[in-house]
Amino acid sequence: MDTATRPSVPTALLVAFGGPAAAGALLGLRAGAADALAQAGALPAVMAGTAALTLPALYIGASILGLVPAADVMARATLAALRATGLLLLGLAPALAFLIATLPSPSVALALVAAATAGAVLAGLRTLHLALSAAAPADRPPLLLTALLTGWSLAALAIGGQLFFQHVA
Protein backbone atom coordinates (compact mmCIF):
# COMPACT_ATOMS: atom_id res chain seq x y z
CA MET A 1 0.00 0.00 0.00
CA ASP A 2 1.58 3.33 -0.97
CA THR A 3 1.63 6.44 1.21
CA ALA A 4 -1.19 8.09 -0.74
CA THR A 5 -3.67 5.28 -0.08
CA ARG A 6 -2.40 4.26 3.38
CA PRO A 7 -4.89 5.31 6.09
CA SER A 8 -3.69 7.59 8.87
CA VAL A 9 -2.67 6.00 12.16
CA PRO A 10 -5.73 7.27 14.11
CA THR A 11 -8.09 6.00 11.37
CA ALA A 12 -6.34 2.62 11.29
CA LEU A 13 -6.54 2.37 15.10
CA LEU A 14 -10.21 3.35 15.04
CA VAL A 15 -10.97 0.56 12.55
CA ALA A 16 -8.67 -1.89 14.38
CA PHE A 17 -10.52 -1.52 17.67
CA GLY A 18 -13.93 -0.46 16.30
CA GLY A 19 -14.45 -3.88 14.68
CA PRO A 20 -13.90 -5.91 17.88
CA ALA A 21 -15.97 -3.34 19.82
CA ALA A 22 -18.89 -3.84 17.40
CA ALA A 23 -18.64 -7.64 17.61
CA GLY A 24 -18.43 -7.52 21.42
CA ALA A 25 -21.43 -5.19 21.63
CA LEU A 26 -23.49 -7.58 19.48
CA LEU A 27 -22.63 -10.43 21.81
CA GLY A 28 -23.79 -8.53 24.87
CA LEU A 29 -26.84 -6.91 23.28
CA ARG A 30 -29.26 -9.70 24.23
CA ALA A 31 -28.47 -9.20 27.91
CA GLY A 32 -29.08 -5.43 27.82
CA ALA A 33 -27.31 -2.15 27.11
CA ALA A 34 -24.95 -2.34 30.11
CA ASP A 35 -23.73 -5.80 29.10
CA ALA A 36 -23.35 -4.69 25.48
CA LEU A 37 -21.20 -1.76 26.60
CA ALA A 38 -19.07 -4.01 28.81
CA GLN A 39 -18.53 -6.54 26.01
CA ALA A 40 -17.81 -3.71 23.55
CA GLY A 41 -14.88 -2.81 25.78
CA ALA A 42 -13.84 -6.36 26.65
CA LEU A 43 -13.19 -7.71 23.13
CA PRO A 44 -10.91 -4.82 22.01
CA ALA A 45 -9.15 -5.10 25.38
CA VAL A 46 -8.53 -8.80 24.76
CA MET A 47 -7.12 -8.00 21.30
CA ALA A 48 -4.91 -5.23 22.65
CA GLY A 49 -3.77 -7.39 25.58
CA THR A 50 -2.90 -10.31 23.31
CA ALA A 51 -0.96 -8.01 20.97
CA ALA A 52 0.89 -6.42 23.89
CA LEU A 53 1.77 -9.82 25.40
CA THR A 54 2.95 -11.49 22.21
CA LEU A 55 4.25 -8.90 19.73
CA PRO A 56 7.49 -8.08 21.63
CA ALA A 57 8.42 -11.76 21.41
CA LEU A 58 7.87 -11.72 17.64
CA TYR A 59 9.90 -8.54 17.23
CA ILE A 60 12.79 -9.88 19.29
CA GLY A 61 12.77 -13.22 17.47
CA ALA A 62 12.54 -11.62 14.03
CA SER A 63 15.29 -9.12 14.87
CA ILE A 64 17.69 -11.79 16.16
CA LEU A 65 17.12 -13.79 12.97
CA GLY A 66 17.69 -10.63 10.89
CA LEU A 67 14.20 -10.76 9.37
CA VAL A 68 12.90 -7.27 10.28
CA PRO A 69 15.04 -4.29 9.28
CA ALA A 70 13.61 -1.67 11.67
CA ALA A 71 11.05 -1.17 14.44
CA ASP A 72 8.87 1.13 12.33
CA VAL A 73 8.44 -1.63 9.71
CA MET A 74 7.23 -3.94 12.46
CA ALA A 75 4.90 -1.25 13.82
CA ARG A 76 3.41 -0.58 10.37
CA ALA A 77 2.93 -4.30 9.71
CA THR A 78 1.25 -4.73 13.11
CA LEU A 79 -1.07 -1.79 12.51
CA ALA A 80 -2.00 -3.14 9.06
CA ALA A 81 -2.75 -6.54 10.59
CA LEU A 82 -4.90 -5.08 13.37
CA ARG A 83 -6.70 -2.89 10.83
CA ALA A 84 -7.45 -5.92 8.61
CA THR A 85 -8.86 -7.77 11.63
CA GLY A 86 -11.04 -4.82 12.66
CA LEU A 87 -12.21 -4.17 9.12
CA LEU A 88 -13.35 -7.74 8.65
CA LEU A 89 -15.23 -7.71 11.96
CA LEU A 90 -16.91 -4.43 10.95
CA GLY A 91 -17.96 -5.95 7.61
CA LEU A 92 -19.32 -9.04 9.33
CA ALA A 93 -21.25 -7.01 11.92
CA PRO A 94 -24.55 -6.70 9.95
CA ALA A 95 -24.64 -10.45 9.26
CA LEU A 96 -23.73 -11.25 12.87
CA ALA A 97 -26.39 -8.87 14.17
CA PHE A 98 -29.08 -10.64 12.13
CA LEU A 99 -27.95 -14.13 13.14
CA ILE A 100 -27.65 -13.26 16.83
CA ALA A 101 -31.07 -11.59 16.80
CA THR A 102 -32.84 -14.55 15.20
CA LEU A 103 -31.02 -17.55 16.68
CA PRO A 104 -32.58 -18.48 20.01
CA SER A 105 -29.51 -19.90 21.79
CA PRO A 106 -26.97 -17.59 23.51
CA SER A 107 -24.29 -20.28 23.13
CA VAL A 108 -24.77 -20.19 19.34
CA ALA A 109 -24.33 -16.41 19.47
CA LEU A 110 -21.08 -16.86 21.39
CA ALA A 111 -19.89 -19.48 18.90
CA LEU A 112 -20.67 -17.15 15.98
CA VAL A 113 -18.78 -14.21 17.49
CA ALA A 114 -15.85 -16.48 18.43
CA ALA A 115 -15.74 -17.89 14.88
CA ALA A 116 -15.96 -14.43 13.31
CA THR A 117 -13.19 -13.15 15.59
CA ALA A 118 -11.01 -16.17 14.80
CA GLY A 119 -11.54 -15.67 11.05
CA ALA A 120 -10.74 -11.96 11.31
CA VAL A 121 -7.61 -12.67 13.36
CA LEU A 122 -6.45 -15.18 10.72
CA ALA A 123 -6.93 -12.51 8.03
CA GLY A 124 -4.87 -10.15 10.21
CA LEU A 125 -2.11 -12.75 10.60
CA ARG A 126 -2.03 -13.18 6.83
CA THR A 127 -1.62 -9.41 6.43
CA LEU A 128 1.20 -9.43 8.99
CA HIS A 129 2.93 -12.26 7.14
CA LEU A 130 2.65 -10.48 3.77
CA ALA A 131 3.87 -7.16 5.19
CA LEU A 132 6.86 -8.70 6.97
CA SER A 133 7.72 -10.87 3.96
CA ALA A 134 7.78 -7.80 1.72
CA ALA A 135 10.12 -6.01 4.13
CA ALA A 136 12.42 -8.96 4.93
CA PRO A 137 15.98 -8.75 3.59
CA ALA A 138 16.40 -10.67 0.32
CA ASP A 139 19.31 -12.73 1.67
CA ARG A 140 17.21 -14.41 4.38
CA PRO A 141 15.38 -17.66 3.48
CA PRO A 142 11.59 -16.99 3.23
CA LEU A 143 10.87 -20.23 5.07
CA LEU A 144 12.53 -18.86 8.18
CA LEU A 145 9.99 -16.05 8.52
CA THR A 146 7.09 -18.41 7.79
CA ALA A 147 8.33 -20.85 10.46
CA LEU A 148 8.78 -18.06 13.00
CA LEU A 149 5.37 -16.57 12.26
CA THR A 150 3.63 -19.96 12.39
CA GLY A 151 5.06 -20.74 15.82
CA TRP A 152 4.33 -17.27 17.11
CA SER A 153 0.79 -17.29 15.66
CA LEU A 154 -0.06 -20.56 17.40
CA ALA A 155 1.14 -19.18 20.74
CA ALA A 156 -0.70 -15.86 20.17
CA LEU A 157 -3.92 -17.66 19.19
CA ALA A 158 -3.73 -19.83 22.31
CA ILE A 159 -3.21 -16.82 24.58
CA GLY A 160 -5.89 -14.78 22.77
CA GLY A 161 -8.34 -17.69 22.92
CA GLN A 162 -7.75 -18.11 26.64
CA LEU A 163 -8.29 -14.39 27.28
CA PHE A 164 -11.42 -14.43 25.07
CA PHE A 165 -13.05 -17.24 27.01
CA GLN A 166 -11.99 -15.73 30.35
CA HIS A 167 -13.15 -12.16 29.76
CA VAL A 168 -15.67 -12.16 26.88
CA ALA A 169 -17.49 -15.48 26.95
Binding site: A84, T85, L87, L88, L89, L90, G91, L92, A93, P94, A95, F98, L99, T102, L103, P104, V108, G119, A120, A123, G124, R126, T127, L130
Partner: protein
Amino acid sequence: MTQQPATATATFDRLLRDLPATLARIRAGDDLAGLARVALAVLALSAAVFGAVLGAHRGGLQILYAAVKLPLVFLFTAALCAPALTALNAALGRRADLRRDLALLLVALARVGLVLAALVPLVRLAPAAGASYHMAVLLVVLACALAGLVGVFTLWRGLRLAAPDAAGLAAAGLLLVFSLVGAQMAWTLRPWLLRPRAPEPVFVRGLEGNFLDALGTTADSARGHYVRPEAPVPAPWPAEGRR
Protein backbone atom coordinates in the same frame (compact mmCIF):
# COMPACT_ATOMS: atom_id res chain seq x y z
CA MET B 1 -17.11 7.75 -30.52
CA THR B 2 -18.60 7.36 -27.03
CA GLN B 3 -19.93 3.96 -26.07
CA GLN B 4 -23.71 3.77 -25.63
CA PRO B 5 -24.91 2.16 -22.38
CA ALA B 6 -26.32 -1.33 -22.94
CA THR B 7 -30.11 -1.62 -23.01
CA ALA B 8 -31.86 -3.60 -20.29
CA THR B 9 -32.63 -6.40 -22.79
CA ALA B 10 -28.99 -6.60 -23.90
CA THR B 11 -27.85 -6.57 -20.27
CA PHE B 12 -30.26 -9.41 -19.44
CA ASP B 13 -29.08 -11.37 -22.47
CA ARG B 14 -25.45 -11.00 -21.41
CA LEU B 15 -26.29 -11.89 -17.83
CA LEU B 16 -27.74 -15.18 -19.04
CA ARG B 17 -25.45 -16.04 -21.96
CA ASP B 18 -22.21 -14.08 -21.69
CA LEU B 19 -20.93 -14.16 -18.13
CA PRO B 20 -17.36 -13.03 -18.99
CA ALA B 21 -18.72 -9.82 -20.59
CA THR B 22 -20.93 -9.13 -17.56
CA LEU B 23 -18.04 -9.71 -15.15
CA ALA B 24 -15.73 -7.53 -17.28
CA ARG B 25 -18.35 -4.78 -17.06
CA ILE B 26 -18.32 -5.02 -13.26
CA ARG B 27 -14.52 -4.94 -13.21
CA ALA B 28 -14.48 -1.83 -15.41
CA GLY B 29 -17.21 -0.21 -13.32
CA ASP B 30 -19.15 0.44 -16.53
CA ASP B 31 -22.78 1.53 -15.78
CA LEU B 32 -22.99 -0.52 -12.59
CA ALA B 33 -26.31 1.09 -11.67
CA GLY B 34 -27.88 -0.13 -14.94
CA LEU B 35 -26.49 -3.63 -14.43
CA ALA B 36 -27.67 -3.70 -10.80
CA ARG B 37 -31.18 -2.61 -11.83
CA VAL B 38 -31.47 -5.44 -14.37
CA ALA B 39 -29.99 -8.01 -11.96
CA LEU B 40 -32.37 -6.83 -9.24
CA ALA B 41 -35.40 -7.08 -11.54
CA VAL B 42 -34.38 -10.55 -12.76
CA LEU B 43 -33.77 -11.70 -9.19
CA ALA B 44 -37.06 -10.30 -7.88
CA LEU B 45 -39.12 -11.76 -10.73
CA SER B 46 -37.52 -15.21 -10.82
CA ALA B 47 -37.56 -15.56 -7.03
CA ALA B 48 -41.20 -14.47 -6.96
CA VAL B 49 -42.09 -17.14 -9.55
CA PHE B 50 -40.23 -19.84 -7.61
CA GLY B 51 -41.81 -18.62 -4.38
CA ALA B 52 -45.27 -18.74 -5.94
CA VAL B 53 -44.67 -22.35 -6.98
CA LEU B 54 -43.65 -23.21 -3.41
CA GLY B 55 -46.82 -21.57 -2.15
CA ALA B 56 -48.88 -23.45 -4.75
CA HIS B 57 -48.10 -26.63 -2.81
CA ARG B 58 -50.78 -25.36 -0.40
CA GLY B 59 -52.53 -22.89 -2.70
CA GLY B 60 -54.66 -19.83 -1.93
CA LEU B 61 -53.10 -16.95 -0.02
CA GLN B 62 -49.87 -18.90 0.51
CA ILE B 63 -49.00 -18.40 -3.19
CA LEU B 64 -48.97 -14.64 -2.69
CA TYR B 65 -47.15 -14.80 0.64
CA ALA B 66 -44.34 -17.00 -0.67
CA ALA B 67 -44.04 -14.98 -3.90
CA VAL B 68 -43.51 -11.81 -1.85
CA LYS B 69 -41.20 -13.36 0.74
CA LEU B 70 -38.69 -15.25 -1.42
CA PRO B 71 -37.32 -12.14 -3.22
CA LEU B 72 -37.01 -10.53 0.23
CA VAL B 73 -34.88 -13.45 1.45
CA PHE B 74 -32.41 -12.86 -1.37
CA LEU B 75 -32.43 -9.07 -1.10
CA PHE B 76 -32.05 -8.92 2.69
CA THR B 77 -29.28 -11.53 2.55
CA ALA B 78 -27.46 -9.59 -0.17
CA ALA B 79 -27.77 -6.38 1.86
CA LEU B 80 -26.27 -8.08 4.95
CA CYS B 81 -23.51 -9.89 3.05
CA ALA B 82 -22.26 -7.17 0.66
CA PRO B 83 -20.38 -5.33 3.46
CA ALA B 84 -18.85 -8.67 4.47
CA LEU B 85 -17.55 -9.20 0.91
CA THR B 86 -16.03 -5.71 0.77
CA ALA B 87 -14.44 -6.19 4.19
CA LEU B 88 -13.10 -9.61 3.15
CA ASN B 89 -11.57 -8.09 0.02
CA ALA B 90 -9.99 -5.27 2.03
CA ALA B 91 -8.69 -7.59 4.77
CA LEU B 92 -7.15 -9.89 2.16
CA GLY B 93 -5.42 -6.98 0.43
CA ARG B 94 -7.66 -7.17 -2.67
CA ARG B 95 -9.45 -4.29 -4.39
CA ALA B 96 -12.40 -3.40 -2.16
CA ASP B 97 -15.25 -1.41 -3.65
CA LEU B 98 -18.74 -1.74 -2.19
CA ARG B 99 -20.45 -0.76 -5.48
CA ARG B 100 -18.59 -3.38 -7.52
CA ASP B 101 -19.00 -6.00 -4.80
CA LEU B 102 -22.74 -5.35 -4.57
CA ALA B 103 -23.07 -5.52 -8.37
CA LEU B 104 -21.19 -8.85 -8.40
CA LEU B 105 -23.37 -10.22 -5.61
CA LEU B 106 -26.55 -9.15 -7.41
CA VAL B 107 -25.38 -10.69 -10.69
CA ALA B 108 -24.56 -13.97 -8.90
CA LEU B 109 -27.97 -13.92 -7.19
CA ALA B 110 -29.76 -13.10 -10.44
CA ARG B 111 -28.21 -16.21 -11.98
CA VAL B 112 -29.29 -18.18 -8.90
CA GLY B 113 -32.82 -16.87 -9.47
CA LEU B 114 -32.71 -17.86 -13.13
CA VAL B 115 -31.68 -21.42 -12.26
CA LEU B 116 -34.49 -21.59 -9.68
CA ALA B 117 -36.93 -20.37 -12.34
CA ALA B 118 -35.66 -23.10 -14.66
CA LEU B 119 -36.34 -25.70 -11.94
CA VAL B 120 -39.94 -24.55 -11.47
CA PRO B 121 -41.48 -27.36 -13.57
CA LEU B 122 -39.64 -30.01 -11.54
CA VAL B 123 -40.80 -28.58 -8.21
CA ARG B 124 -44.34 -28.07 -9.52
CA LEU B 125 -44.62 -31.65 -10.74
CA ALA B 126 -43.30 -33.21 -7.53
CA PRO B 127 -46.71 -33.47 -5.76
CA ALA B 128 -48.27 -34.88 -8.92
CA ALA B 129 -45.56 -37.54 -8.93
CA GLY B 130 -46.62 -38.57 -5.43
CA ALA B 131 -43.96 -36.74 -3.42
CA SER B 132 -44.95 -36.23 0.22
CA TYR B 133 -44.69 -32.86 1.99
CA HIS B 134 -41.31 -33.81 3.46
CA MET B 135 -40.01 -35.10 0.13
CA ALA B 136 -41.14 -31.83 -1.47
CA VAL B 137 -39.23 -29.86 1.18
CA LEU B 138 -36.08 -31.84 0.48
CA LEU B 139 -36.55 -31.35 -3.27
CA VAL B 140 -36.79 -27.58 -2.73
CA VAL B 141 -33.62 -27.60 -0.59
CA LEU B 142 -31.88 -29.60 -3.34
CA ALA B 143 -33.04 -27.13 -6.01
CA CYS B 144 -31.76 -24.23 -3.92
CA ALA B 145 -28.41 -25.98 -3.37
CA LEU B 146 -28.07 -26.55 -7.14
CA ALA B 147 -28.90 -22.92 -7.89
CA GLY B 148 -26.49 -21.90 -5.12
CA LEU B 149 -23.66 -23.78 -6.86
CA VAL B 150 -24.24 -21.67 -9.98
CA GLY B 151 -24.11 -18.55 -7.79
CA VAL B 152 -20.87 -19.67 -6.14
CA PHE B 153 -19.29 -20.32 -9.54
CA THR B 154 -20.35 -16.87 -10.78
CA LEU B 155 -19.00 -15.21 -7.66
CA TRP B 156 -15.71 -17.08 -7.79
CA ARG B 157 -15.17 -16.13 -11.44
CA GLY B 158 -16.02 -12.51 -10.70
CA LEU B 159 -13.62 -12.38 -7.77
CA ARG B 160 -10.85 -14.02 -9.82
CA LEU B 161 -11.34 -11.55 -12.64
CA ALA B 162 -11.25 -8.59 -10.25
CA ALA B 163 -7.95 -9.80 -8.72
CA PRO B 164 -6.65 -13.39 -8.84
CA ASP B 165 -4.80 -13.02 -5.52
CA ALA B 166 -6.70 -14.75 -2.67
CA ALA B 167 -9.89 -14.96 -4.78
CA GLY B 168 -10.56 -18.47 -3.47
CA LEU B 169 -10.25 -17.31 0.15
CA ALA B 170 -12.60 -14.38 -0.43
CA ALA B 171 -15.14 -16.64 -2.20
CA ALA B 172 -14.95 -19.28 0.55
CA GLY B 173 -15.36 -16.66 3.28
CA LEU B 174 -18.35 -15.10 1.59
CA LEU B 175 -19.88 -18.51 0.88
CA LEU B 176 -19.73 -19.35 4.58
CA VAL B 177 -21.32 -16.05 5.64
CA PHE B 178 -23.89 -16.12 2.84
CA SER B 179 -24.92 -19.73 3.53
CA LEU B 180 -25.45 -19.03 7.23
CA VAL B 181 -27.33 -15.76 6.71
CA GLY B 182 -29.34 -17.01 3.71
CA ALA B 183 -30.42 -20.22 5.41
CA GLN B 184 -31.39 -18.42 8.61
CA MET B 185 -33.17 -15.69 6.62
CA ALA B 186 -35.22 -18.32 4.77
CA TRP B 187 -35.93 -20.03 8.09
CA THR B 188 -36.98 -16.75 9.73
CA LEU B 189 -39.39 -15.89 6.89
CA ARG B 190 -40.96 -19.37 6.70
CA PRO B 191 -43.46 -21.00 6.07
CA TRP B 192 -42.92 -21.70 2.37
CA LEU B 193 -44.77 -24.90 1.50
CA LEU B 194 -46.88 -24.91 4.67
CA ARG B 195 -47.38 -28.12 6.64
CA PRO B 196 -50.44 -30.13 5.55
CA ARG B 197 -51.78 -29.89 9.13
CA ALA B 198 -51.43 -26.09 9.36
CA PRO B 199 -54.95 -24.59 9.52
CA GLU B 200 -54.43 -21.45 7.44
CA PRO B 201 -51.56 -19.58 5.79
CA VAL B 202 -49.59 -17.11 7.90
CA PHE B 203 -47.17 -14.57 6.46
CA VAL B 204 -44.38 -15.30 8.98
CA ARG B 205 -44.19 -17.77 11.86
CA GLY B 206 -42.76 -17.07 15.31
CA LEU B 207 -39.02 -17.44 15.92
CA GLU B 208 -38.03 -20.98 16.95
CA GLY B 209 -35.14 -23.36 16.23
CA ASN B 210 -32.87 -22.94 13.23
CA PHE B 211 -32.48 -24.11 9.64
CA LEU B 212 -30.01 -26.95 10.24
CA ASP B 213 -32.07 -28.53 13.05
CA ALA B 214 -35.16 -28.33 10.85
CA LEU B 215 -33.38 -29.90 7.87
CA GLY B 216 -32.35 -32.88 10.01
CA THR B 217 -35.90 -33.30 11.30
CA THR B 218 -37.33 -33.09 7.77
CA ALA B 219 -34.84 -35.68 6.46
CA ASP B 220 -35.89 -38.03 9.28
CA SER B 221 -39.59 -37.39 8.60
CA ALA B 222 -39.10 -38.06 4.87
CA ARG B 223 -37.76 -41.52 5.84
CA GLY B 224 -40.75 -42.09 8.11
CA HIS B 225 -38.91 -41.49 11.41
CA TYR B 226 -40.98 -38.97 13.37
CA VAL B 227 -39.67 -37.38 16.56
CA ARG B 228 -43.18 -36.26 17.60
CA PRO B 229 -46.44 -38.21 17.49
CA GLU B 230 -47.95 -35.45 15.33
CA ALA B 231 -46.81 -32.11 13.88
CA PRO B 232 -47.63 -29.09 16.04
CA VAL B 233 -50.03 -26.44 14.82
CA PRO B 234 -47.85 -23.36 14.14
CA ALA B 235 -48.61 -20.10 15.93
CA PRO B 236 -48.86 -16.90 13.86
CA TRP B 237 -46.15 -14.26 14.29
CA PRO B 238 -45.51 -12.73 16.77
CA ALA B 239 -45.72 -15.93 18.78
CA GLU B 240 -47.13 -15.84 22.27
CA GLY B 241 -44.52 -14.91 24.84
CA ARG B 242 -42.37 -13.08 22.26
CA ARG B 243 -44.56 -10.01 21.86
